[in-house]
């Protein structure tokens, strides 16, 4: 392997969607045996570049050279034949097929007949290699987002590629899985594969990348070896302005009175014996490995999949919550981790999504929606959260991931919750926006809202939380004080050591 030569050379690529110039005159080169990080704010055009490289979308202008030869990539199978594979930002599994088949279904060279035995064996080997524990025979429909992501990774790796693209693969992984993924990525690099890695978690970028390319508003700003980049310079290039205090260190909020308490919450066989109190203005972090059933606890509290025993007491009222409506009445909001399938009505407008959970407030005579008030609210949130969109009637589905996240945030803030459960609140959000979201979470807490923050981003949990509840395989391992907790203490609990 001749490390140093460009396997993939992107030259002067441009791509326009009806309203937005997603990419303009972008050139990037990928070398064999390097891990190349691509960073940029939400909507900078990162995913668009990936989609073009994998043939899902076609560029308006520019060309792609593979080992010096221009190639035309018109669909994913073709990309595969050139040795390019990608893990997409939103996992794309086939829910009805089992895990093993998901890994192998798109292999071009698998012949006419399916050899099931071999597929199961190979799948087990690959997953073991990655250190992922999954039943290869269970259908993908029951998998968590993280597990789906793992399947996608396994799929890409099984292809023996020359270029492996990963679009925010770590967004729904916790640090344990992340380190496993990184060791795989490094091994591939050492085998001469060019890895293109996209992430909003800058620590990760610095940890793994050899070179870093920055995009901003569809333009390439720079490409530099990691040694020549500092955290500050990187953020400045991404955001285009001086940014002083990202990741402000933890400042303890004043803990108010107790407003709720969860006792012995159990849902067999998923989780059992969850106990904690919630206080006004408190941020309670929920940490754990992927699949530790944090989401399920959140869903039980919000009433989507009610628990079967235990009690939820809020403002003195004790009951088990059986539906999201009951939860909403008690002032609980839950922002899902899967915005694509569960969070947003993609073909609807931004405004309609923002008011969806609180539509009752906007109903006038005969249940007719007062659209002017609706628009006003949406406008306010656009300002407050800096949602980047040409107009509020824009389809949410056409926004970039980060901006979609902001819309979802607005939707729940607008219900004015007393208890706000955030499931991976900064998933897919860029540094700038992430800091804003953190700031916002703190402000909400200051206003007296109790916040329950489920996150796989450990630094985020540490920096935000007043207390940290750690889960492992559906059991509560303990609650740590935010001030005294650190990576090691949380991980020790999460891994059961």
């Amino acid at each position: 392997m001749d490390s140093g030569s460009a396997v993939l050379d992107v030259q002067n690529l441009s791509k326009r969607f009806d309203m937005t110039q997603a990419l303009e005159d972008v050139s990037v080169d990928l070398k064999a045996g390097e891990i190349h990080a691509l960073v940029g704010e939400n909507g900078a055009g990162k995913s668009t570049l990936i989609k073009i490289l994998t043939g899902i979308q076609q560029a308006d202008q520019g060309e792609v050279l593979l080992q010096g030869k221009p190639v035309k990539i018109s669909n994913a199978q073709e990309a595969q034949s050139y040795g390019i594979a990608a893990i997409f930002q939103e996992p794309m599994v086939f829910p009805d097929l089992d895990v093993a088949e998901n890994i192998f279904i798109s292999h071009r060279d698998r012949g006419f007949f399916v050899r099931w035995k071999k597929i199961y064996q190979d799948a087990e080997t690959i997953l073991e290699d990655l250190g992922i524990q999954l039943d290869v025979r269970s259908p993908a429909s029951g998998l968590t987002l993280a597990a789906q992501q793992a399947v996608e990774i396994a799929k890409a790796i099984s292809l023996n590629v020359k270029v492996l693209i990963m679009d925010e693969p770590t967004a729904s992984l916790s640090s344990h899985e992340v380190s496993q993924l990184f060791s795989v990525a490094r091994r591939l690099r050492d085998e001469g594969v060019a890895v293109l890695f996209i992430s909003h978690r800058l620590e990760e970028v610095f940890e793994i990348a050899d070179r870093i390319t920055v995009f901003r508003d569809g333009h390439k700003i720079s490409t530099n070896p990691v040694s020549e980049v500092t955290r500050e310079s990187l953020i400045q290039e991404m955001v285009g302005r001086e940014v002083s205090k990202f990741y402000k260190s933890h400042e303890k909020t004043v803990q108010g009175r107790r407003i709720g308490s969860i006792k012995n919450l159990t849902k067999q066989p998923i989780f059992s014996e969850i106990n904690f109190d919630l206080h006004e203005g408190e941020i309670l972090g929920f940490a754990g490995l992927v699949g530790s059933r944090r989401t399920d606890v959140g869903l039980a509290i919000f009433g989507v999949t009610p628990a079967d025993s235990g009690s939820i007491e809020i403002e003195g009222k004790t009951e088990l919550i059986h539906s999201p409506q009951e939860a909403q009445k008690l002032g609980i909001a839950y922002m899902t981790e899967d915005r694509r399938k569960l969070g947003l009505a993609m073909p609807m407008s931004i405004t309609e999504n923002i008011t969806l959970a609180s539509l009752k407030k906007y109903l006038g005579l005969l249940g007719i929606v007062e659209s002017s008030r609706e628009e006003q609210t949406a406008g306010e949130f656009k300002e407050r959260l800096d949602i980047k969109t040409p107009s509020l009637t824009h389809e949410v589905g056409k926004l970039s991931g980060g901006n979609q996240q902001k819309v979802m945030f607005s939707k729940w803030l607008n219900t004015q919750p007393k208890i706000f459960i955030l499931d991976e609140p900064t998933r897919g959000i860029d540094v700038g926006a992430k800091a804003e979201v953190h700031q916002m979470i703190r402000e909400l807490a200051k206003q007296g809202i109790a916040i329950l923050c489920i996150s796989s981003d450990l630094p985020e949990v540490l920096v935000l939380s007043d207390r940290i509840l750690v889960m492992r395989e559906g059991r509560q391992m303990g609650i740590l004080e935010g001030a005294s907790a650190n990576q090691e203490s949380v991980m020790a609990l999460a891994m059961g050591q």
Partner: protein, 315 residues
Amino acid sequence: MGWEGFLLVVLLLIICVNSFNSLAFLTVENQVNLFVLSVEKIIIALIMTFIILNAEIDLSVASMMGLAACALGWMVESGTSTSTAIGLCLIIGLVGGAFNAYWITIVKLPSLVVTLAMLIGFRGLGRVLIEDRSIRVFPPWFENLGQQPILGPLPLSILIFLVLLVIAVVILQYTGFGRYVYVIGISQEVATYSGVRVARVKTILFMVSGLISALAGILFSARLGSVRGDMGLGFELDIITMVLLGGVSIFGGAGSIYGVILSILIVLYLRNGMSLSNVTGHIQTGVIGVILILSAMIPNIKSWLESIFDKKYAP
């Protein structure tokens, strides 16, 4: 231009051709008749629009129509007063709709399966009530209601249609309930996770569908003056055709009631025009079939043309 615009153009075209073809077409009598002949279908098409937008389907509407009509005949025959019987039939509609809703929202079976079974089941119940008879027992006022004009040239059934139409437009396009119908159609999960009472919305829709179908069955009995077991047989496909031609996506969440109104007019005018030119039934059905397919292809052709245009002339 949009889908509705396209339908409008088609509609105007049909109207031109028709009035050119037959002098009888534009007469008030013909215009009223052509609505009266299909009024039951187009009433049900309104609620079917809601149900399809909600990503569900109700195949049992025509059978419910038959059941309500049979029940009406059976009750009146066995001595119930006609007005009481009408009330009871509407309740039967609600109960039948609730029955569908139970299996769909609580047992969680696909509506296609449930209503396919009840397409057989409701029709069967109607048959149980009146077997192989044709019942003709209605008082004159009831038949007059179905056959005589009560406002200008318009009979009651058309007035009911117009009122329901206005209600449907308002609810679907302007109220919160209408918004929920769309959201659930786009994604039931998103709606659930946003605290929308999905089961309740669906239950309401299916109950109203039962109610409206029963109403249509009653209007049908009044118009025809008698009831039989096969009333409305096969109407469900015509009704669904109208809704789909109106641009409502079978996968839910997309389309509008305006499109459905236009497609209703297109289907009725097209059929009427062909009838007036003595085109026989099966050719008419075939033509509607072709129109349905062609119309669904137009948006693709349009976007294909646009993409060519864009490529050539984009700045």
